[in-house]
């Protein structure tokens, strides 16, 4: 039970800023406040990172946020083109409420009743895990947890369980939250080698880095 794991890389996306391992790699100057800001920002970040993945534009806000954060960490992993065993352990506070509100608005009034499958499919928080799995060929464990705040203890324990039992070779863990005017993504990759020890204290420290 004493096997140790390490945090290899981590990234943040918040306040119009994208950073990897604590270093800012992209920053967009905010023009106006509000969610429109997010769509412009995330599109600019997507272009800057040369992501080249057309499915990105049909995703909802939460999936765009999670997808880009995961892409930042997984693109340098030399992943196998066929399959990879990297578990996804994600969490947030608002679940898929941003898209839930859009679906609700489409059904609230009889006169304007028009539910759309393209919106409805994103009314589940784990859809972003599916988007990431498709892009990076992850046929692996995935789970989405909801807490009212970032919960390092839970993430650490669950990732350890997956790694120790051999259910995953690596785990991509973290927090991706999108709610009304605020967004916050923090992801980190855990594996057998690295310099930052995979402890609750270190996870909390990295989360609060920016």
């Amino acid at each position: 039970m004493s096997e140790k794991f390490f945090i290899k890389n981590y990234c943040h996306i918040k306040n119009q800023t994208v950073s990897v391992n604590g270093k800012v790699i992209f920053n967009d100057v905010p023009i106006t406040l509000g969610t429109e800001d997010f769509s412009t920002f995330i599109k600019n970040a997507y272009k800057f990172l040369k992501t080249d993945y057309s499915k990105f534009f049909k995703m909802d806000n939460l999936s765009k946020l999670a997808f880009l954060a995961a892409y930042l960490l997984l693109k340098s992993e030399n992943l196998n083109e066929e399959e990879n065993n990297i578990a996804l352990v994600f969490s947030n506070k608002a679940s898929s409420l941003d898209t839930d509100r859009k679906h609700e608005a489409a059904i609230e009034n009889e006169a304007e009743y028009f539910p759309s499958p393209a919106v409805f499919v994103y009314t589940l928080p784990n859809i972003c895990l599916g988007e990431i799995s498709i892009k990076h060929r992850l046929y692996s464990e995935n789970s989405f947890f909801i807490f009212d705040r970032f919960n390092a203890e839970h993430l650490q324990l669950y990732a350890n369980s997956l790694l120790r039992s051999g259910k995953a070779q690596k785990t991509l863990c973290g927090w991706v939250d999108f709610d009304e005017n605020s967004y916050d993504a923090f992801l980190y990759l855990v594996e057998k080698e690295g310099e930052i020890e995979h402890t609750t204290e270190e996870i909390t420290r990295l989360y609060n880095t920016l």
Partner: protein, 382 residues
């Protein structure tokens, strides 16, 4: 690693308010599905399994103030209370609480709701349940589409293996709401008639609402009759499509393989499969392909959607509890709604209630986002 068991349990549904009554109803062939014509829920007629709010309130009023709890909270609390009372376990720091749901109190988004929008946050639902009973630990909420209920069993097992908890109570629930009905209807996935999983005339799903609860424990003594050991579990993504199942059943195939490996048994040792079987053309076909690839064509299999409809984040736990009661009775129960095989691979759908000595069963589920979960359970001979 400590062994883990699924112990005391409860089902709160329109087929009964305890597991035994519900299983008796299934034995008699009764279904909770009914046809509705209620434009406040869906502009067209639909078929679903729903619990009368009046009955829920009548029951809840004996233990709490009905105006302070949503219908879903009342259902979950009533269900979980039975399990906590039966198990007689003090709720100390070694006891965890896990809530599984897909949409929680999503109906509070409706403008006519008496509850504030803040109740739609799933962590609020967790806190409400936690505080009602006085759990020492914060509720962990799992929301992973239609595998949530069975994945919760895996998660509880893992927390016990990590020695974080000795006991974990799982409570799961979802409602049939305008939100959910309109969404599945926009996918043209709903059947207006009672669903027919795996049948050649299947046309889609029925939705259902239920609360189901269970105790997962490492404590081998004092297990109730019918308790099962969790032998192996796995979750695998299809890495294929967010709203359609894989054509090769990849994630389901891999999850069953991995669960068998952990359980250290072969496919031939599975006596019964409690499958997902939503009765959509694509899902049932995908499952048949996966089970065929696994060499499980002959293993007796059913879907319980013909009794309860698809109860979303509760379905996996609900169907696991029913499965353990089938094992206790040593009866293979019929897959309601099925008459003629309508999938491209031969699989062994149970047509009528059949006595059979049962020792080990497999529960599977698949959901949006490409997720698939498989868990294997073994009868405890005490």
């Amino acid at each position: 690693m400590p062994k883990t068991f699924l112990s005391y349990n409860n089902i709160f549904s329109n087929l009964g308010f305890d597991s035994e009554t519900v299983v008796e109803n299934i034995f008699s062939g009764n279904s909770g599905l009914e046809k509705f014509d209620d434009t406040s829920l869906l502009p067209e007629p639909f078929c679903a399994s729903m619990i009368s709010s009046k009955i829920v309130e009548e029951k809840f009023s004996k233990i709490g103030n009905t105006s302070k709890f949503t219908k879903l909270e009342q259902m979950i609390i009533l269900s979980l209370k039975e399990v906590i009372d039966d198990s007689n376990i003090p709720l100390n720091e070694r006891v965890g609480l896990l809530i599984s749901t897909t949409k929680g109190n999503i109906d509070v988004l409706e403008s006519k709701s008496n509850f504030p929008e803040s109740r739609a946050y799933l962590s609020e639902l967790g806190k409400t349940i936690q505080n009602f009973f006085g759990f020492k630990n914060e509720a962990i909420v799992l929301s992973n589409a239609c595998v949530s209920g069975i994945l919760a069993v895996s998660v509880a097992k893992r927390f016990i293996s990590e020695e974080k908890y000795d006991h974990v109570f799982i409570a799961s629930g979802d409602l049939v709401t305008k939100f959910i009905l309109s969404g599945f209807n926009s996918f043209q996935a709903l059947s207006a008639e009672p669903c027919k999983p795996y049948d050649k005339n299947r046309t889609g799903i029925n939705l259902g609402e239920v609360a189901a609860s269970a105790l997962i424990t490492s404590e081998e003594k004092d297990l109730p009759t019918g308790a099962v050991e969790i032998l192996g579990d796995a979750t695998c993504n299809d890495a294929n499509h967010i709203s359609g199942p894989s054509r090769t059943g990849e994630g389901l195939y891999r999850s069953v393989k991995a669960a068998l490996k952990e359980a250290n048994i072969g496919a031939a040792q599975i006596d019964y499969i409690s499958a997902h079987g939503t009765a959509t053309p694509f899902n049932d076909e995908m499952e048949a392909i996966a089970f065929s690839r696994l060499g499980m064509e002959e293993v007796p299999l059913n879907s319980l959607k013909g009794y309860f409809g698809h109860t979303l984040g509760a379905s996996g736990l609900l169907e696991t509890i029913v499965g353990m009661h089938f094992m206790m009775k040593n009866i293979l129960f019929s897959s309601k709604g099925f008459s003629d095989l309508g999938v491209s691979k031969k699989i062994n759908i149970i047509k009528e209630n059949t006595p059979k000595e049962l020792h080990i069963f497999l529960k599977t589920a698949s959901g949006f986002g490409g997720c698939n979960t498989a868990v294997i359970f073994k009868k405890v001979n005490n």
